[in-house]
Amino acid sequence: MTAKKRLFVALILAACLLASGLGVGGPSGDEVTRARLLLSRATYGARPGDLDAILVQGTKAWLEEQLEPARIDDSAVLKSLQKLENLQLSTTELMRKYPQPSRAEREAMLKARDSDEPGERKPPPRDRRGLVLRELWQAKLYRAVHSERQLQAVMTDFWFNHFNVYARKNRNTLLTLPSYERDAIRPHALGRFEELLTATAEHPAMLFYLDNWVNTKEGFDPREALRAQLGRRGGRGRRAMRDEDERALRISGINENYARELMELHTLGVDGGYDQKDVVEVARALTGWSVVGPQAVRVKQRIEERMGRGRMPEALRRLPDEGSFFFNELAHDDGVKTILGERIEEYGKHTEDGASGTHEGYAVIALLARHPSTARFVSTKLAQKFVSDSPRGALVDEMSSTFMRTRGDIREVLRTMFYSKHFVEDGMASEKVKTPLELVASALRATGAKVRGAALARTVAELGMPLYLCQPPTGYDEQAASWLGAGSILTRIRFATELAGGHLPGATPGGLPRDFEAWAADVLLRPEALPVDESLSGVDQMAFFLSSPAFQRQ
C-alpha cells in the first residue's frame, strides 16, 4: 500500500467514525435534521446510506456540489441514457424519422380500429411516434431514481412543470419534447431565469402548445403573402399548392394564448399587475414567432420542384428546416406597443439586430423576467416546492430580493432558500406530500430497486400524474391537498404492495433489508414517526411501510 493510499484509507475511517457519532464532535442534531430534510426535498428521496454520506461530506459541501451538477460524476447514468436514441436527436431529425402517417396509413389505422368483423382485424399499423414518449418516460424515471445529480433532476422537473407542455397538443408536439427538455430546460435549470424563459419562448414545443406559432398581425393573409413572394412568374409555384396546404394556411390574427400564460403562469403571476390590454400588447410583440412545420417544408419542396431553386424567392429559399424556430417577418405587427407602461419600441433602438422584429419579443421577455412581481412569483413557487405549501412571507422576501439583486440567478435564489434559517424550521414543521413521481422514485430509491424500461410511467399515471401529459398550462399542483383522496390512497397502497412483493411492472426489485427498523429510520424524513406493526414481517412489513402516511410525506 502506498503512502497516498494509506492516507486515503485513514481518512475514510475517520469519516466513518464521524458519521457514526463516535468521533470527536460528531454531526449536531441540527445538521442531521438538515441532512434528512435536504435528502427529502432536494433529491428524490434517501437511499440507504445516503444520510451517512451527506453527513460525512457536510450538508454545505453536499449542497454546493448539487448546485454545480457538472462537478458530479454521473457517467454511469449518462451512458445508460445514451441508449435512448430518440432523445439524442434534434426536432428536425425526429420529424424526418417519424413523418406524419400518410393518408393511406391513417385510413388503415381507422379501418382496423372500427372494424367489427373479427376476420378482418389485422394488427393495426402502429403510430411509431409512441416510442419517443416511452423513451422520455424511461429517461425521466431513470434520472429521478439513479442520477447522482439529484437537485438538477428535481429542478428540471420543477421547470418543466412550470413551463408545462402537453405532448398531445397536436401531432408534432411530442417530437419537440426531447429537445425541449434537453436543450431549453435542463441546461438552465440552475442558471438564469431570463435565459430559461427565453429558451422556452423560442422553443417549438411552447410555440405549438400555447399557439404562438399561429399568432400573426391582424389581417395577415398567409396565402396572399406567399403569392406576393412568388411574384408574377410564380404561377407554377402557386399551382404546386394543394387543397390541404390552402387549408393549413388559413390562419390569421392575434392569438393571445401564449401572451396570457407567459404573464399569468410563467412570470408575473395572476395578481402580478397586468391587464387585458397588456396581454394584447404582448401578443402583438410576439406576432410572427413561429415554427416551420413539416407541411411548410413540403410546400417549399413542391414549389422548388416546379420553379427550380434558382427562381424561388429568397424568403422561401431561406426557410429553415422543419421543427425550427422561425421568425415570420411578414406576420409581425410593426406598430408601437406599450407593456406595463413601457414603450417597447424604445428597446429596439438599443439592440444591434435592428433589422429583425424579434427584438421586440426579447425586450418583452427581459421586461417580464426582471420584474419584481416575477421575482416574488417564482420565489414563492420555489419555496412551496422545497419548504412549505404556504411559505412565510419573510422567506419569500429574502428569496425575491436575491432574485432581483442577481438578475434572476436561480442558483443564488436556491442558496438563499436552503441557507435561510426558515428552511429547516418551516420545512420540518410543514406537511408536504409526495407527488406520484416523487413517491414512486423515492420508494425505488429507498428499497434499492432499479428502473427497467418505461412501464413504471403507467404506475405514475395511475397515481394521477401522467408524465408529459398534463393538459393545462398550470402544470401539476404541488399542494398536498391535490394528492390526497380516497382513490389516490388506494392506488398508493396498491403500488406499495406491488413494489414490496417484487411484481411492480418496470422495476427490478431490490430485496428486503436485514434490519428493517434501522433501514426504515435511515430512509425516512422523521424517524420518530416510524410506522411499526409488530405482527407484520417481510413483504407485508415493507408494503405497510411504503403505504404508510409517514412515507407519503416529503
Binding site: R247, I493, S547
Partner: protein, 419 residues
C-alpha cells in the same frame, strides 16, 4: 338571500320532525321516501368532435345533399337504410335506431347547434374549455362537474352523513378534467381493481386505520374515505350484479364502461355524477354514410346507451348528457370525411327530459348562416345546456358556482321542476 337560507333551514328542521312523527306513526311513508334514490347525472364525452350532421340529419334542407355529397343520407322511409324521422325536418342516422324508441317515448331530446363561444378548432383547447367550463380561459384548475358536485355537497344539512366516497365516478384511466378538483371522486378504468385479493385486504385494513388515526386532518380524511370506499364496495359487491333480463350491451374491444357504470348505479354506492368517454369521432377520412366507420361508432354508442338506460331501469333516476368539443365542416372534404368545425349536437336522455323533440335554433345551411361560411353555428352555449341539465338532474338549488361570471339562459330541454 339570508331570508331564503333561514327558510330552508327551518324547512329542513320542520320536515325532519314531521318525518320522525310519520316514522313513529307508520314506517311506510318514511321508507318510501328513503327508497327514492336521488338523481344521477352521467356525462358522456364523444372525444374527437362528433359530426352533428351524421347524427341529426336536416334532410329537408335543400342544400343538404349538395353540401354533403357522398356523405348524404337517405330521407326517412326511403332507400335501403332510411333515416329515422324526428319531426320538423330532422332525422336520426339509421345507426341511432336503438335510441329511436326512447325519442318516441319522450325520454330523449336533442339540441342542435350547440357548442362553445370560443372559435378554436383545436381538440385539445376545445375539450379543455368544455371540461373546465371556462371557454377562452386555460388556467382554470377545476372542472365544471366538480363544481356541480360542490353544489350537491353544499346542500347537505349539517350533521348529515358525509357524501359517499363514490359520489363521483369516472370510468377512465385517469381523472378527467371535467372532475378535476372534486372530492369523493374515484377514477378507474375498471372498478374490478377495488376487489382486492385477501392478503392485500388484511394489510389495507391496518393501513386504513393508520391513516384514520393520523395526526394530520387531510391524511385522516383520506384514510377514512378510502376505508369507506373499500368497505362499501365490498358490501355492495356491484360487479356481481347481472344486467337486467333481456338487456344486451354491444360487443367491442374491452369492457363496455356503460355496463359497469350500470352495475355501480344499481348498487347502493351513492354515485351522483359519472363520467364516461368514447373516442374515434375525429372523422377526417372516409367516415362513410349509412354504413361505414362513423355508422359503426354510432351503432355502438346508441346500442350501449339504450342498453344502459334499460339496465338501470326506472329505480335510479338517471340523466345522460352527451357532449363533444365541437362539430365538423358541413361539406365533405376531399377524403370522404369532414374537418374540424364549430357547432355540434347534444343529446339528453332521462325521465326529466322534454324529449321527443328537437331543441335549439336551427338556422339552415345557407352559407350566410354558417359559421365562417362553412360550419354549423353555435346558437346554444354549452354552458346553458350543462346548467339546465345539471340543475334538474341533481336538483341543485344554487348554480351560480357552476360557470362563474356567466349568465345562463334557459334552453327548455328539461321539464319544469314538478313538486
Amino acid at each position: 338571500m339570508m331570508q331564503n337560507r333561514w327558510d330552508r333551514r327551518e324547512f329542513l328542521r320542520m320536515s325532519g320532525s314531521t318525518l320522525l312523527l310519520l316514522g313513529g306513526a307508520g314506517g311506510g311513508a318514511l321508507e318510501a321516501r328513503d327508497r327514492a334514490k336521488p338523481g344521477v347525472l352521467v356525462v358522456l364525452f364523444q372525444r374527437g368532435a362528433a359530426d352533428a350532421l351524421h347524427m341529426v340529419v336536416p334532410y329537408r334542407d335543400k342544400r343538404y345533399r349538395g353540401l354533403r355529397g357522398a356523405l348524404a343520407l337517405e330521407e326517412p322511409g326511403k332507400g335501403e337504410t332510411p333515416t329515422l324521422d324526428l319531426g320538423e325536418g330532422f332525422a336520426f342516422h339509421s345507426a341511432l335506431s336503438p335510441l329511436y324508441p326512447l325519442y318516441g317515448a319522450g325520454q330523449l331530446g336533442v339540441i342542435v347547434n350547440t357548442g362553445s363561444p370560443d372559435p378554436t378548432r383545436s381538440h385539445f383547447d376545445a375539450q379543455d374549455y368544455m371540461e373546465s367550463g371556462t371557454p377562452g380561459k386555460k388556467s382554470t384548475r377545476d372542472g365544471w362537474l366538480a363544481r356541480a358536485l360542490i353544489e350537491i355537497s353544499g346542500r347537505q344539512p349539517s350533521g348529515a352523513e358525509a357524501p359517499s366516497p363514490f359520489n363521483a365516478v369516472a370510468l377512465t384511466p385517469q381523472m378527467p378534467r371535467t372532475l378535476a378538483g372534486a372530492r369523493d371522486t374515484i377514477a378507474l378504468e375498471d372498478f374490478g381493481s377495488l376487489e382486492r385479493p385477501r392478503r392485500e385486504s388484511a394489510l389495507a385494513e391496518r393501513l386504513e386505520k393508520l391513516y384514520r388515526e393520523d395526526a394530520s386532518a387531510s391524511f385522516a380524511a383520506a384514510g377514512t374515505e378510502a376505508s369507506r370506499a373499500v368497505t362499501l364496495f365490498r358490501e355492495q359487491n356491484p360487479l356481481a350484479l347481472p344486467p337486467r333480463k333481456g338487456v344486451r350491451y354491444p360487443g367491442g374491444r374491452g369492457e363496455n364502461p356503460l355496463k359497469q357504470l350500470a352495475q355501480l348505479l344499481k348498487s347502493g354506492l351513492g354515485v351522483r355524477v359519472a363520467f364516461v368517454e368514447s373516442s374515434g369521432w375525429d372523422t377526417h377520412f372516409r367516415q362513410g354514410a349509412a354504413t361505414g366507420s362513423m355508422a359503426n361508432l354510432l351503432g355502438r354508442l346508441s346500442g350501449s346507451l339504450a342498453a344502459f338506460y334499460e339496465d338501470v331501469g326506472p329505480d335510479v333516476p338517471v340523466t345522460v348528457l352527451t357532449v363533444t368539443e365541437f362539430g365538423r365542416t358541413v361539406a365533405a372534404n376531399g377524403a370522404g370525411g369532414t374537418d374540424h368545425g364549430h357547432g355540434s349536437v347534444t343529446m339528453v336522455l332521462g325521465a326529466g327530459v322534454r324529449g321527443g323533440r328537437v331543441h335549439g335554433d336551427w338556422l339552415g345551411l345557407q352559407p350566410r348562416n354558417l359559421y365562417e361560411g362553412r360550419d354549423l353555428p353555435v346558437t346554444t352555449d354549452f354552458r346553458d345546456v350543462f346548467t339546465e341539465v345539471a340543475t334538474r338532474a341533481l336538483s341543485l338549488e344554487d348554480t351560480s358556482g357552476l360557470f362563474p361570471g356567466y349568465r345562463t339562459k334557459s334552453v327548455g330541454v328539461m321539464a319544469e321542476r314538478s313538486l
